[in-house]
């Protein structure tokens, strides 16, 4: 298992798409910070050139963007699936292959997330005004809260990529499973109490609402993320165990 993870790590650090993802994400954040900075410098009455606005509003959608960007290289796993036959032929079980790749993918995600959070903080503190004392602490708390639902998103995507063959199928299934229920439940929540409960407890809800004043306990996104992660991880593993190459 350790050897499998070692080799996956070797491949991961040499997968350029992850770096392109990080670069794109950095450029988006930097672009936003620089625009705020320029307006702050040129418009005396401009009220938004501060850290808090940058963290709470500008970066509000970034976790969603990051999940989508990060899953892009995983899409390519579909094209690499034939390589699995070499791994299975050497005696590694499907379970080990699946688990090792997932762990390395999640570890890579955490590393990238940490590095990019660092970049966002550098941009915020370096270019913008410190208007609120707790802006950084609130930002960190929000990110920590959204972490499990981001992991759920990546695990869901990974599970689909492990068992589906065509990229279009994977993307369609991902949108249907991860994002669509959020909008369907939103439409139903006015009519059904259970829909209202599910709407406010699905991972995408937490992903979209992390910067609003959280009206939910801190453990809720963790519980929701854990349920999604374990469920799709289990389903993916069950199906991957039957995969033939």
């Amino acid at each position: 298992m350790l050897n499998l993870m070692k080799s996956e790590q070797y491949r991961f650090v040499r997968t350029r798409n992850y770096y392109f993802t990080a670069l794109l994400y950095t450029l988006l954040m930097a672009g936003a910070a620089v625009v705020l900075y320029i307006f702050q410098q040129s418009e005396p009455g401009f009220r938004y050139g501060n850290e808090r606005f940058f963290y709470n509003n500008v970066l509000a959608m970034m976790p969603v963007v990051f999940v989508l960007l990060f899953t892009f290289p995983v899409i390519l796993m579909g094209d690499h699936k034939q390589v699995f036959k070499n791994i299975a032929a050497y005696g590694y079980s499907r379970q080990r292959i699946y688990t090792a790749k997932l762990l390395v993918t999640l570890a890579g995600f955490l590393l990238f997330a940490l590095a990019l959070t660092g970049v966002s903080v550098l941009l915020g503190t370096g270019l913008l005004i410190r208007s609120h004392e707790h802006a950084l602490a609130d930002y960190s708390r929000s990110l920590l809260g959204v972490l499990p639902v981001m992991i759920a998103g990546i695990t869901t995507y990974y599970s689909l990529a492990a068992v589906m063959k065509k990229n279009t199928q994977i993307i369609t299934a991902y949108v249907l499973i991860y994002f669509l229920p959020h909008y369907v439940l939103n439409a139903l929540q006015g009519r059904f109490a259970w829909a209202k409960w599910l709407y406010s407890h699905n991972p995408v809800y937490y992903l979209f609402n992390l910067y609003n004043e959280p009206s939910y306990p801190a453990w809720e996104p963790w519980a929701s993320g854990a349920v999604y992660t374990l469920f799709f991880c289990g389903i993916g593993l069950y199906l991957f165990n039957k995969e033939e190459f």
Partner: protein
């Protein structure tokens, strides 16, 4: 007596309603070079895939180095080097990066193992060229390098010389012979080029429609195929009359150039010579000839020119 390293009993594999393998009984002894021969769709690749767990058998048992339980057999698979169907690697990696990935995965000590494997298949100088830019022959060589890198005791090769030029094919043949003789590597191989198999194989396994129809050692095949007598006479018409009178049980064909080919009678060449001579037919030469593997295969399975 050599011990069996691979034993297969009643193996079956069904894809939806198609029986890709049915009731396969097979045992491979250490040191064998076993050639699996059959038409496209005969089940050769599926058999190899079952042994390497790329697909799951529907029924039957596989015993590898004496182990048949799932965990035990998986541990024994680390002794296998396999190249089945088209070699699969990461397209954006070079040959060295691809092998390094698998070296780490297989826990093979020393980075020089990668260079050694590349050298064995003449791929050392591919530099920064990516796998996706390789020719089919180079891809095959890299697949073979991977199969060899872990010093396998059993090599499973599915059409390993596909896409190679004649020189490359000869190199691979020599490499396989050397591995078998010097390193005692057992080899299970299939190829569309039967003449290649005939020059390396010690055993033949003929498959048709998912079943094994015949298994022969190289010696048995030789005996079976050494079955024609070719005569060159001074008068083929007269010789034919003598043959019909004295050897009515041996079918024959008159060939151009006063040649006659007898399908049988390999153990009666002296009698043939004596009888023809005594009946006034001049015999210029008499020789026992045989079929090659391809002719034997065509006779057995009624196959196309290529298996």
């Amino acid at each position: 007596m050599m011990h069996c390293i691979l034993e297969i009993e009643a193996l079956g594999k069904t894809y939806k309603n198609v029986h890709a393998l049915q009731d396969i009984q097979l045992s491979i002894a250490a040191g064998d070079i076993a050639a699996v021969i059959g038409k496209n769709g005969a089940g050769k690749t599926t058999l190899f895939k079952c042994v390497t767990e790329q697909v799951f058998p529907t029924s039957g048992t596989i015993r590898l180095y004496g182990k048949s339980d799932a965990a035990g057999i998986r541990r024994q698979r680390s002794k296998i080097g396999a190249m089945i169907e088209e070699p699969a690697f990461f397209p954006d990696f070079t040959a060295r990066q691809n092998l390094e990935y698998f070296r780490q995965q297989r826990g093979i000590a020393g980075k020089e193992a990668v260079d050694r494997a590349l050298k064995d298949v003449n791929l050392l100088d591919t530099g920064s060229k990516k796998f996706k830019d390789f020719s089919l022959g180079m891809k095959q060589r890299l697949g073979l390098a991977l199969a060899l890198m872990s010093h396998p005791a059993l090599l499973i090769l599915d059409e390993p010389t596909n896409g190679l030029d004649p020189e490359g094919k000869a190199e691979i043949r020599e490499l396989l012979k050397t591995l078998n003789v010097e390193k005692k590597v057992t080899i299970l191989i299939s190829s569309h080029v039967l003449s290649e198999l005939q020059s390396v194989a010690t055993r033949y396994i003929f498959m048709d429609r998912g079943r094994i129809v015949e298994q022969l050692t190289a010696e048995e095949l030789l005996n079976k195929t050494r079955k024609a007598v070719e005569l060159v006479v001074d008068d083929s018409g007269r010789a034919a009359t003598v043959l019909e009178q004295h050897f009515p049980d041996i079918p024959y064909r008159i060939l151009p150039g006063n040649r006659i080919r007898l399908s049988g009678g390999t153990d009666r060449t002296e009698a043939l010579n004596r009888t023809l001579y005594s009946c006034g037919v001049g015999v210029r030469s008499i020789a026992v000839t045989g079929e090659d593997l391809e002719e034997y295969y065509l006779g057995l399975l009624g196959g196309e020119r290529h298996a």
